[in-house]
């Protein structure tokens, strides 16, 4: 007993002999991926910033010249750009939320024992696997076609007539196609969450007197929260970049009524050849995304913390 009292009161961890070298050995496997990612994904942004300060149109070779913040001024006075930004938010948020709600509902339906469950699940995930370009094409032609489309055929008893959905509701049409593709993804995630739920907790809730709805609200939903957050963040990451569906279905039209930022910038860069202007838009989008995504990152961060805790 007395021996311990002679030692210094505080015990500090001993430094491993070759901490530095050891650290590098441990870090080494990480480096190739890190360096590759920095080069391929970060460097272009530096160029983007550089280009955004230039007036440079590919159609006029040698036109590149430094113009300061001119491009940014144009971006912020461009009413089309603002409209397109709003479209992006509406499209992304709408598609993510609707597909999450539907996905959750489908997951609840699938989370029961019944005949043909595996088969129905297979049917339900297929839209997620379909190439987006093919899916958009499918919606544009086979489904939304005013004369021969299935939608109008199905709705004809209700007097839908020959509505040209894509012309009448371009943004909504695109959103419908996106929701169709992303609902399976949300369903898979929430189904995984449902199935990882411990049985005894559900049973305890039943014994404690909770009805099905109370169990869902008090026990299942809090458990699913992490999966729902993950689905929303991942869905948003991919849906913000939606390009294929707009390119195929509406070309952003009429006007810019159904264009989102990726499509608009693409138009400016590859159809308008206005490199400086589109680069400036890119920078603005990046800054906006950083603001939104720090929030989103915090969400993921929290859900993964609790998972490990």
């Amino acid at each position: 007993m007395t021996v311990t009292e002679q030692r210094p009161a505080e015990i500090v961890p001993r430094q491993p002999a070759s901490a530095g070298r050891e650290g590098w050995i441990r870090r080494a496997p990480l480096l190739p991926a890190l360096i590759f990612t920095i080069i391929v994904t970060q460097l272009p942004f530096l160029f983007t910033i550089y280009y955004s300060l230039q007036s440079w149109n590919l159609v006029r070779p040698g036109s590149a010249q430094f113009v300061g913040l001119d491009n940014y001024v144009k971006v912020f006075t461009d009413s089309q750009f603002r409209g397109v930004a709003v479209n992006t938010v509406v499209l992304t948020a709408g598609a993510v939320l609707i597909s999450m709600v539907l996905g959750l509902a489908f997951a609840l339906l699938l989370d029961r024992q019944f005949r043909g469950r595996g088969f129905v699940r297979t049917l339900l995930i297929t839209p997620f696997l379909i190439t987006p370009v093919a899916a958009a094409l499918l919606w544009k032609t086979v489904l939304f076609d005013p004369t021969y489309g299935l939608i109008n055929f199905v709705l004809s008893p209700f007097g839908a007539g020959q509505t040209d959905w894509i012309s009448a509701f371009p943004l909504t049409s695109v959103m419908v196609a996106l929701v169709w593709q992303w609902t399976p993804f949300m369903m898979l995630l929430t189904l995984a969450g449902l199935q990882s739920q411990p049985h005894d907790v559900l049973e305890a809730a039943r014994v404690d007197g909770a009805g099905s709805f109370a169990i869902f609200r008090e026990v299942t939903l809090p458990h699913l929260r992490r999966f729902i957050e993950l689905g929303i963040v991942l869905g948003a990451i991919y849906l913000v970049n939606t390009f294929d569906a707009i390119y195929m279905m509406t070309q952003g039209g009429p006007g810019t009524a159904s264009a989102n930022l990726p499509f608009y910038i693409y138009q400016r860069a590859f159809l308008g050849f206005d490199i400086g202007q589109s680069a400036a838009m890119g920078v603005v989008v990046v800054i906006a995304t950083i603001i939104v995504s720090t929030f989103a990152l915090r969400l993921i961060f929290r859900s993964f913390q609790t998972e490990e805790g």
Binding site: P198, E203, R206, V207, A210, P222
Partner: protein, 362 residues
């Protein structure tokens, strides 16, 4: 509080399979503490879950307070259950966990708080009410699970191996606490365990299941002293009862080459020419093997001595038949050693005889 009756209650998980609970009959009085015990897979949990409304009652009835429970959902049975892994709601605090059954029954907030506080007081959880279950030790989680059961003052408590995740010491102390709390609250309790010490110490009565069938339903003392069949005899008691199936002789039974005399009254109950004889380890008298080559004794050689302090267990094999093992309890520090020759004689009249075919007590 209410009485609980299992009336031919049965559960079959898959059509055609052996029933997990096979025509179980139990009459549990109001306020009684009944323990369901049995080997793994014997249907204890299934029986309890049928009572809880978590498993279908495929045949027969279960009645709580005279009301038939077939088709009645869990939440309308007025029961509370403690699960083996506690099944606490991970996203709720300790307090909210305990308040949940009250909340589900529409009890107002103030009363909820009051009852949770009272239960937390009893269980020593007052300081932890705002924590999440993750931040508790195993023993504390167990208490929360208990608390969640008692706040509601249900008709019946159900517990499925609630102590199996605790360390040995906690298990013993919590065992006593649960038993004491049950006596105080006077709520009818059905308790599942595979630990016979728990069964014997906690229950007013113990129901022993094997293969989904009830073997015996009795007080712990009767279960020990008057096992209804060889299975019960072998299951209850540690170390287990010595069971030998032996040929019957004129005055007793033969073990190897020696003859074991049985009291007349015992002898008279044997009908066939073979019988299963059960002798508890403490029912042997031990003599040193060199001294008395006395008639009626069984010669054996000691293989292992387990010295426990207050007693010692001798594990031996018979001289005549090395395959037959026998366990003997003696006083502690008897000085027996491995390799010793001993002579064993039954000291009690309370020997157990069973039909070698059916296993039933004779």
């Amino acid at each position: 509080m209410a009485d609980v009756v299992f009336d031919q209650a049965s559960r079959v998980y898959t059509a055609g399979a052996k029933p997990a609970v096979n025509r179980l009959d139990l009459e549990i009085a109001e306020g009684e503490f009944v323990v369901l015990v049995g080997p793994s897979g014997s249907g204890k949990s299934t029986a309890l879950r049928m009572l809880a409304g978590l498993e279908e009652i495929d045949d027969g009835e279960i009645r709580i307070g005279g009301r038939n429970m077939v088709g009645v959902p869990s939440r309308d049975r007025d029961i509370a259950m403690v699960f083996q892994n506690y099944a606490l709601y991970p996203n709720k605090t300790v307090g909210d966990n305990m308040a949940f059954p009250l909340k589900m029954r529409g009890v107002d907030k103030a009363t909820q708080q009051e009852k949770v506080r009272a239960a937390a007081d009893i269980l020593g959880l007052t300081d932890y009410l705002d924590r999440k279950p993750k931040a508790l030790s195993g023993g504390q989680r167990q208490r929360v699970a208990m608390g969640r059961a008692i706040v509601r003052e249900p008709q019946v408590f159900l517990m499925d191996e609630p102590l199996s995740n605790l360390d040995a010491k906690m298990r013993v102390s919590t065992r006593t606490e649960i038993a004491a709390m049950q006596r105080r609250l006077g709520v009818t309790t059905v308790y599942v365990t595979h630990d016979q010490v728990e069964a014997m110490t906690m229950g007013d009565r113990v129901a022993l299941l094997a293969d989904g069938k009830l073997q015996q339903f009795d007080t712990p003392a009767d279960l020990y002293d008057k096992p209804a069949n060889a299975f019960v005899a072998g299951f209850i008691g540690s170390p287990a009862m010595n069971l030998f199936t032996l040929p019957v002789s004129a005055e007793g039974v033969r073990i190897g080459s020696s003859e074991l005399r049985l009291p007349r009254e015992v002898q008279s109950r044997i009908s066939g020419d073979r019988v299963t004889l059960g002798i508890r380890p403490e029912q042997w008298g031990v003599a040193n093997g060199d001294g008395g080559a006395s008639a009626g004794g069984v010669k054996a050689q000691v293989d292992v001595v387990e010295e426990l302090g207050s007693d010692a267990y001798l594990y031996a094999h018979l001289d005549d038949d090395a395959q037959t093992a026998v366990v003997v309890r003696t006083a502690g520090r008897s000085g027996a050693r491995r390799g010793d020759q001993i002579v064993l004689t039954p000291t009690s009249d309370e020997l157990h005889l069973f039909d070698p075919e059916s296993g039933d007590r004779l």
